[in-house]
């Protein structure tokens, strides 16, 4: 179905383009004027009028279809069956699944099959209408465009205006995405804070989404959502990662920028960057299968409480992942320090390492700080390594050999499988997402600012 529509639209586009172009090329007798634009632009003009309106109609329909049909079917459901309006959305989802030919878990009796059949019928009917409207729009647009194709008409200007609008729209997708993230997170998070007090979330020290610990809570049995243990776990794992990554990455960057021969630089730098290209799920597997047992043995050897999913295993592997971020960003920063500063230092008799430590590092420090902050934000938002190698149970501890959980682990594990959007458990995920977004956003903004300021300083 989709394929047929795509092919039809492409075919229509091609035919109308050929027609418009042909018309401009033909220059019928009795029309002495030259066409204003190149023939192709008349082709594009005809194509735009014939293709864009129906495609917009189709997109509009695809967006509106679920809610329109839903309204109609819901009336029928409420009339036919004993469905209370609170569960109507769940039932609707199942109706849709039945209509698509999927199986549903709950049993509603035979009535629902009829509703599903009606739903299907309505869908097909509506779709046929939409296709008819699309065809009419295409025809109308084409006839209009045809009447405009005369020598005086400035087709290029019109087409270029449309292209410009399309480019502006593309550029605005970045803004739309950010707005979508903020709005969807905010919206669901506000629903969550209606069920659960904001300050208990931010400053609570117990995270147990399953258990009912507080009987006085609205809708008891919903669990306790105190984010502090998650934030502490995130901070601990990120800190371990930074302790691993910053010295290694920074020393590697210094060596590559200041000591390495061009040949060594051109081999070692790409190899280090391979570390950044490896999917995080691979690091997660490596952490869970190979590194975690290592630290577990080490922990029991020095006799401190350990857990198979220790924070340190996840942290160290995450550190390895982050090395190339630190090294390549710092490398750029060090290279940006003007040669004259090095020359000045050498002229005073400093050795190379003294120059690096006493002259280059202070000069490059802001840039390196920016790199470290960017890497930290990457560590905080990293999901797969911690999902696979860190624990699931919130645990407020300072021992890195024990299991801790992180914000991202909870987001990933609470949403997979369970999809009822009225429980505090599911909604809490969006509150966590908002928290994560804000934290990483602040880190990124500071880091980008520092890096930009630093760059301007030496340009």
């Amino acid at each position: 179905m989709v394929l047929v529509i795509v092919i039809a639209v492409l075919g229509l586009a091609y035919l109308t383009f050929r027609y418009g172009r042909g018309r401009a090329l033909a220059r019928p007798a009795g029309m002495p004027d030259r066409y204003h634009s190149l023939p192709g632009y008349y082709g594009y003009y005809a194509m735009l009028w014939a293709v864009v309106p129906p495609v917009l109609i189709l997109i509009g329909w695809l967006i509106l279809e679920p809610s329109l049909l839903r309204g109609m079917i819901e009336q029928q459901l409420l009339g036919q069956m004993t469905v209370d309006s609170a569960h109507i959305s769940l039932v609707m989802d199942d109706v849709r699944r039945l209509a698509m030919g999927e199986t549903v878990l709950r049993d509603y009796g035979p009535g629902i099959r009829e509703v599903a059949a009606d739903y299907n019928q309505l869908r097909y009917l509506a779709f046929a209408c939409v296709v008819a409207i699309m065809a009419a729009a295409a025809a109308a647009g084409f006839i209009f465009a045809r009447s405009r194709i005369v020598p005086k008409f400035r087709a290029r200007n019109t087409v270029e205006r449309v292209v410009m609008a399309a480019m502006l729209f593309s550029a605005c997708i970045a803004i739309l995405t950010t707005a979508g993230i903020v709005l969807s997170l905010l919206f669901e998070a506000i629903l969550f804070f209606n069920k659960y007090p904001f300050f208990d979330f931010l400053f609570g020290t117990t995270w147990s989404p399953q258990a009912a610990l507080r009987a006085d809570q609205a809708g008891s049995g919903e669990g306790t959502f105190g984010a502090i243990p998650l934030l502490a776990g995130t901070a601990m794992i990120s800190l371990i990662a930074m302790i691993v990554a910053v010295p290694i990455g920074l020393m590697a960057a210094i060596y590559l920028a200041e000591y390495a021969s061009p040949r060594m630089r051109s081999t070692a730098k790409p190899i280090l960057e391979v570390l950044a290209g490896i999917p995080t799920v691979v690091y997660g597997f490596f952490a869970a299968i190979t590194v975690a047992p290592l630290f577990s043995n080490l922990g029991s050897w020095v006799d401190i409480p350990t857990s198979p999913d220790s924070a340190i295993a996840a942290g160290v592997v995450m550190g390895i992942m982050i090395i190339p971020f630190i090294s390549s960003l710092s490398d750029d920063v060090i290279n940006a320090v003007p040669q004259s500063m090095r020359d000045g230092s050498y002229a005073l008799g400093a050795t190379q390492s003294e120059t690096i430590r006493k002259v280059l590092m202070p000069a490059a420090l802001p840039g390196i700080m920016g790199a470290v902050l960017l890497a930290a934000s990457r560590a905080i938002g990293e999901t797969m390594i911690v999902v696979m190698a860190a624990g699931l149970v919130a645990n407020l501890t300072a021992n890195p050999f024990e299991a801790v959980t992180t914000v991202t682990v909870q987001i990933a594990t609470l949403l997979v499988g369970d999809q009822e959007f009225d429980s505090a458990k599911t909604l809490s995920v969006f509150a966590l997402g908002l928290l994560l977004f804000i934290i990483t956003l602040i880190l990124n903004l500071i880091a980008l600012r520092i890096v930009r300021k630093y760059r301007e300083q030496y340009e």
Partner: protein
């Protein structure tokens, strides 16, 4: 003023005196140490990479082999085709479960006792039943004959044969009991056990039985997802880059777009997953677990990469090209699309491929939109339930059975091969079309 009056050290003081020499030696030693730290940093980074890759290859290569056992199978009419219709439909209904068990018994007539017999049955995989069924349907003349057939071995036998299970471990600590080891030794003595290249791993979808599980569903799912990602992110990304680089007026909207793009590049991937869940699934009602939604989410994620790379590529085209076109009377869009864009295309494509490679390895946002479901069939469209290769890795990594561990490593190897190919293509593209102006 003379030097002596200032009390500055003379050259002789610094390098000639014993104290000066010592100081110099110390400074040179510090220099060497510092250099060594730098080298150690690089060496550690590379060592981590090598250890990880070696670790994965060493645990994963064996998944490309699969153990088979040779069994005498009598395709008796009573079991395979009791109705005697000899049609594919009738043959499909045959009792292959009993056929498999009878064949194993026939091959090892000496086995007796309840638990020993159960161990015997456990040698072959459930997949062997399907194998027998497919054999008969493909060649109905087999009915009534006795054949030596290589059957798919169970995962425990497979693990044992590949050496993952220690024969000398106490019996209660290994998954293969003594009686089964005795049977395996008999098979080995007869030459009736072998390892062959595991084609099923590439052609099967996921399965609850590790010996039958394959990556086909994940590979196809990843391909469909990336296709959607590419179709969305390449045109939008390039259009954005051209607009910002060439046409955008200097105003607050342009500034806002630029700030947004830089920020989006650093937003955690799981947040994009939440966006997909809240907007694409809940608001627009698009299907769960579908490559369509996965592709849309990944497209939003890769957009910043493509935009930044495309802008760099456009910027590197010298202004003289643009000016020459404008001078000959081209409009600004004509100059851009006909002259600058083609020259920037290799750079744009390189950035796009690198963005696609990132998208291929991405797992977390796909978990959020339900692409983590168990998918036993290869997806046939962008709206059917699917999984992706990295998600398949994640699901297998979480399986308790040891046999999935080698599958996980093998799937990672396949994933890395795809990534290497994509990046190599990007590097080749850059090398081939790189121009110095």
């Amino acid at each position: 003023m003379s030097e002596a009056a200032l009390n500055l050290p003379t050259i002789a003081d610094v390098s000639g005196s014993a104290a000066g020499q010592r100081r110099l030696r110390r400074r040179y030693a510090a220099e060497r140490r510092f250099r060594l730290y730098g080298l150690a940093g690089i060496a550690l980074g590379i060592a981590f990479l090598v250890v990880m890759l070696v670790n994965i290859v060493s645990t994963g290569w064996s998944a490309f082999l699969q153990t088979y056992i040779q069994v005498d199978v009598t395709f008796s009419q009573d079991l395979v085709d009791p109705s005697g219709a000899n049609t594919a439909e009738a043959l499909r209904q045959g009792d292959y479960f009993t056929l498999l068990r009878d064949s194993l018994k026939q091959t090892f007539p000496a086995v007796s006792g309840r638990s020993e017999t159960r161990q015997l049955y456990a040698l072959a995989s459930v997949g062997a039943e399907h194998q027998l069924r497919n054999m008969v349907i493909a060649d109905p003349s087999l009915v009534g004959t006795t054949q030596k057939v290589w059957l798919l071995a169970s995962d425990d036998l497979d693990m044992f044969w590949k050496g993952y299970i220690d024969r000398d471990a106490p019996e209660d600590q290994r998954r293969v009991p003594d009686s089964q080891i005795a049977l395996i030794d008999q098979l080995e003595a007869r030459g009736a056990i072998t390892s062959e290249f595991n084609w099923d791993f590439f052609s099967n979808a996921d399965s609850r039985e590790p010996e039958m599980a394959g990556i086909a569903a994940g590979v196809v799912g990843s391909f469909l997802t990336l296709l959607v990602t590419l179709l969305l992110s390449l045109p939008i990304g390039v259009a954005t880059a051209i607009y910002l680089e060439e046409f955008a007026p200097k105003n607050w909207i342009t500034d806002a777009i630029e700030v947004n793009i830089n920020n989006l590049a650093a937003v955690p991937s799981i947040i994009f997953g939440l966006l997909g869940l809240a907007v694409f699934l809940n608001f627009f009602g698009l299907p769960r677990s579908a490559p369509l939604v996965g592709g849309m989410v990944l497209a939003l994620m890769t957009l910043p990469t493509i935009i930044i790379a495309s802008r760099a590529a456009l910027k590197s085209v010298p202004p003289s090209i643009r000016e020459a076109a404008l001078g000959l009377g081209a409009s600004r869009q004509q100059a851009m699309l006909h002259h600058v864009m083609p020259l920037a295309l290799p750079g744009i494509l390189t950035g796009t491929i690198i963005g696609m490679a990132q998208a291929l390895g991405e797992t977390a946002p796909l978990l959020m939109i339900g692409m983590v479901a168990f998918v036993a069939e290869v997806p046939d469209g962008i709206t059917s339930p699917a999984t992706a290769l990295p998600v398949q890795v994640f699901m297998w990594a979480g399986s308790a059975e040891q046999a999935y561990q080698e599958k996980t490593s093998a799937a990672i190897m396949v994933l890395l091969v795809f990534l290497i190919l994509m990046n190599a293509f990007a590097i080749w593209l850059r090398k081939k079309f790189e121009r110095r102006w």
